[in-house]
């Protein structure tokens, strides 16, 4: 603490509150004193003059009667006496008494100013005996010095009194200021000098100031300190956090694998990270004073103008812009980068650069893969279509050119894959590829569409004869034997040809036309080529029409079963029937199976149709069973139904549903169907047979007629093809052949059904040869279910006739 006198002297600083307020109080007091004294002087002067007048008047009153006598009697002596008396009064300077005749007395104080005229007091003197009669007058000159002296005295007194009072007030004000304001403020100021608010130090409220403005000030300062320290603490925390963040970001920046950089609107690089430096092989340090500014354009872009455009785009919009840009660095063959630029305000752009060379390579590979066939290295369907589109567009642009599209499909290639295995097939395809390539020119395109299907574009070739020659060369080339594991394999191909622009204008129709032509070539035996012909399109159209007809036929239950009686030749009785499908077409009438079954097989509709027919057949068997007729019914099964289209489980379920014994239902399969996929067929036949169904081998004699298969498959019955039976003549070949089949079947323990019995001679011959069953027009054509009863009756009647 400072000694009090020091504190006090500090309070009297020239700029101090105390000195200023004291001076102000003194000045105000002086002003007030001057005004007060002036007023007092004025008032006192008036009052003094008044008092003087009053006194003189009173004086005159006392001498008036004497003076009246003196004036009345013109008594100078008396008048002089009165004058002397008046002059003895200090207020009176001079006295002059006159009557209308003479001056009675004229006395004045010694040394008085003769010229004194102001403040003269005049009184008229009347006769003592007649109040209305003036007998003289007296003029009294008051002494101004006396009055002034009195005024001075009074003013002096007032001044002294005022000085005292003002002095006291000033003193009191100063003391109050000192005690109540200056000292507490000084104390607060001293305390504030040494105070450290961050350590929680606060101002103490001065004594007895808890409720004063000083106390309020202290509270306010303390509150302010609180807020400031709070803000400081927050600030410090934020700064700390900021430091940490900055370190963190710096680490990320430095260690990022992507190139990060900052450029201004002209493209000048402001800063970059090590990854960026490494990518572009530039200095690691951002440009300092020593380094010249580096523009992003100066980096080894393959096309710097693209970079410029990217910068301009980024500056124009707030969203990030990105582009893949190629860079050229010596020693690196090609390198792709992906650049992302984003405006960060202040005309600055922040950028990220990735090395995307690997991505680009993979992308190119993938793109190549997508249009390439891995086995042969040829273009695949996509590649072919791209090429075709390119040619079509080229033609559209130049109106010159044109090309021929050849679709080459190996005939019966499936046989190779199934019989010799996929590797053999693949090898053959590769050889085929080489042979085909050898037939083509450098402008031509060879592609592999599917397993054994190739496509060839003969560019700029539209003349039919030229194409014809090339197709012939190809046919010849494929006809050359292939050697698989040393064994020669002979193959041929079907070729469909479509010409652009004469056949079709767009890629899909060209491909379809070539395919149609190829199908046509194939269906006419293969090993040749066919040019597209609009008729082919028509046929395809018809087929499509038929297909939709088939679908609606299924919906409308237009398929029906016809039944052809089968006769037991041993008993000459009706043993049952073969169920044959017919299509009762609403406009075309009854359609034979040959007209729709191939397409139904191709489209898979046959599965659905045959399931319906199975249902119908079982219903018929049930009817017969209910009528007490012990007929069997045979149903044709196509290749598409084996093994899943008509699964053993389904068969079992259906017959169970109708309550029919399985041995009443026979399933007829051709050799071709059986041999198509031997393993699957065998499994199916075994399963069906095990369930109690009987299996007939249909059309026996037209195919391989392999005995080993006959032994392998659990077949119950052989059906001799009607062509053999129909042509049976006495001692003819066919006769012998049928007999041989019957004999062989019998020796294998199989029942024989002869189809196509049309003549009585057939019947007799078959009977002779020991054939078990027969069917044919001799007995009855296939008939609808409702006619079957009548037919059965007629057949029974026919058979009951004695043989001629």
């Amino acid at each position: 603490m400072k000694p009090p006198h020091q504190a006090l002297s500090a309070s009297w600083r020239p700029t101090g509150l105390l000195l200023r307020s004291t001076l102000a109080v003194i000045l105000a007091s002086l002003l007030a004193a001057v005004v007060a004294v002036a007023y007092t002087a004025q008032a006192t002067s008036e009052r003094a003059h008044q008092t003087s007048q009053t006194r003189l008047n009173e004086l005159l009153d006392t001498i008036e009667s004497t003076l009246a006598v003196a004036c009345f009697a013109n008594d100078q002596t008396l008048a002089v006496e009165v004058t002397q008396g008046l002059l003895s009064n200090s207020d009176v300077l001079a006295v002059n008494i006159t009557t209308d005749q003479a001056v009675l007395a004229d006395g004045r104080r010694e040394g008085a100013n003769v010229a004194q005229t102001s403040g003269l007091l005049k009184r008229l003197i009347y006769s003592p005996f007649d109040a209305s009669k003036q007998v003289g007058q007296i003029l009294l000159t008051p002494d101004p010095q006396v009055i002034e002296g009195r005024i001075r005295e009074e003013v002096w007194l007032a001044a002294v009194q005022l000085s005292w009072q003002l002095g006291m007030v000033t003193f009191a004000v100063v003391v109050m200021m000192l005690l109540f304001i200056v000292r507490p403020i000084k104390a607060m100021s001293d305390r504030l000098h040494r105070m450290d608010p961050t350590r929680g130090e606060r101002l103490a409220t001065p004594k007895r100031h808890a409720r004063t403005e000083i106390g309020q000030l202290v509270a306010d300062i303390n509150a302010l300190s609180d807020r400031l320290t709070d803000t400081l603490a927050t600030e410090r925390e934020l700064r700390l956090q900021g430091d940490i963040d900055e370190k963190k970001y710096h680490t990320i920046f430095d260690n990022a694998e992507s190139g990060l950089f900052l450029i201004d609107h002209r493209g000048v690089l402001m800063s970059w990270n090590p990854a960026f430096a490494q990518l572009f092989d530039i200095d690691r340090q951002p440009p300092g004073q020593t380094l010249t500014a580096l523009n992003i354009n100066q980096l080894p872009w393959q096309n710097p103008t693209q970079m410029d455009k990217l910068v301009q785009n980024a500056l124009r919009q707030s969203a990030a812009v990105t582009k893949d840009l190629q860079i050229l660095i010596p020693g690196v063959e090609r390198s792709w980068t992906n650049v992302v630029l984003r405006s960060v305000g202040n005309n600055l752009l922040q950028g990220v650069v990735h090395d995307v060379s690997h991505l680009k390579e993979s992308e190119a590979n993938a793109r190549q893969l997508a249009i390439t066939d891995p086995l042969t290295g040829l273009a695949n369907r996509l590649g072919l279509e791209q090429r075709l589109h390119a040619h079509v567009q080229e033609y559209a642009a130049t109106k010159t050119g044109g090309f021929a599209l050849l679709m080459v499909d190996m005939d019966e290639f499936r046989r190779i894959n199934e019989g010799m295995g996929l590797p053999a097939g693949d090898s053959i395809l590769q050889i085929t590829t080489r042979r085909l390539s050898a037939c083509l020119g450098s402008e031509d395109t060879l592609a592999r569409l599917a397993a054994d299907r190739f496509c060839i574009i003969l560019n700029h070739i539209t003349q039919g004869d030229v194409v014809d020659r090339v197709a012939g060369r190809i046919t010849l080339a494929i006809r050359q034997p292939y050697f698989v594991d040393g064994s020669p394999v002979n193959l041929h191909a079907s070729i469909g040809i479509a010409l652009f622009p004469s056949d079709g204008f767009d890629v899909p129709s060209l491909l379809r036309q070539a395919e149609l032509a190829m199908d046509n070539a194939k269906s006419s035996g293969g090993d040749g080529h066919v040019f597209f012909n609009p008729v082919l399109t028509e046929a395809a159209e018809q087929r499509r029409h038929l297909e939709s007809d088939l679908r609606s036929a299924i919906r409308n239950h237009e398929f029906v079963l016809f039944y052809q009686p089968v006769i037991d030749l041993r008993t000459l009785r009706l043993s049952g029937a073969e169920a044959l499908i017919r299509w009762r077409h609403p406009t075309r009438g009854l359609v034979p199976p040959d007209s729709f079954i191939p397409l139904a097989e191709k489209t898979g509709l046959v599965v659905e149709i045959s399931l319906l027919m199975l249902d119908t057949a079982c219903a018929q068997l049930q009817t017969w069973q209910n009528q007490g007729l012990d007929y069997t019914l045979s149903l044709n099964v196509s290749g598409r139904q084996i093994p899943d289209g008509l699964s053993p489980a389904t068969l079992h379920e259906v017959v169970s549903r109708y309550g029919i014994s399985p041995d009443k239902l026979a399933l007829e399969i051709t050799e071709g169907v059986m041999l198509r996929d031997i393993d699957k067929s065998l499994a199916w036949v075994n399963a069906v047979h095990a369930l109690g169904f009987r299996v007939y081998l249909d059309d026996f004699g037209t195919g391989y007629s392999s005995l080993s298969y006959l032994k392998m498959f659990p077949v119950d019955t052989l059906k001799v093809d009607k062509s053999f039976v129909k042509d049976m003549k006495d001692d003819g070949n066919e006769f012998t052949l049928v007999g041989a089949i019957i004999a062989m079947g019998r020796s294998l323990g199989l029942d024989i059904v002869a189809e196509g019995v049309e003549l009585e001679s057939h019947l007799l011959a078959l009977q002779r040869m020991g054939c078990h069953y027969a069917q044919g027009y001799y007995f009855s054509p296939p008939v609808p279910a409702q006619e079957f009863e009548a037919v059965a009756a007629r057949v029974t009647t026919l058979l009951a006739l004695p043989a001629p």
């Binding site: 008594d75 100078q76 006496e81 007649d130």
Partner: protein, 141 residues
């Protein structure tokens, strides 16, 4: 009422006139002075002037102190009683500039001095006026 009041007034004045003397200012019949105003009488008797209008020096003469006409005279002249008149004179006498009227010791003395002095002026009761005397001023009734 009015009749009553006037009757009363007459009675009173009648009483007065009978009880008091009626002073008049007189000079010697031989004098050339014929008339004096009341102011002139005041000036002469109270010492202001001592000159008569005819140029003679006036010689005012007072009746004896005890004479009732003297008191009446001064009462009528300046409405003062004799004490007041005496007080007045006492102030003037000291200076010596003027003097009070001649003091007669009897009515007879008044007549002697009046007739004997040329400027003599006196007041007498009207009843005392004879041929030797001339009234120069009468008080209004």
């Amino acid at each position: 009422m009015k009749v009553l009041l006037s009757t009363l007034f007459l009675v009173l004045s009648g009483l007065g006139s009978t009880a008091r003397a009626e002073p008049v200012v007189v000079v010697s019949a031989a004098s050339s002075l014929r008339q004096l105003s009341q102011d002139e009488v005041v000036n002469i008797f109270l010492g202001r002037y001592r000159r008569l209008p005819n140029g003679d020096t006036a010689l005012p003469i007072d009746q004896p102190e005890s004479s009732p006409v003297r008191a009446d005279f001064y009462r009528r002249l300046v409405n003062k009683d004799l004490n007041e008149i005496n007080a007045y004179w006492s102030r003037l006498i000291f200076s010596g500039r003027t003097s009070p009227p001649l003091q007669a010791s009897s009515a007879a003395d008044v007549m002697v001095w009046l007739l004997g002095q040329p400027g003599g002026v006196a007041y007498v009761d009207r009843t005392q006026v004879d041929k030797r005397l001339r009234i120069v001023m009468e008080f209004a009734r």
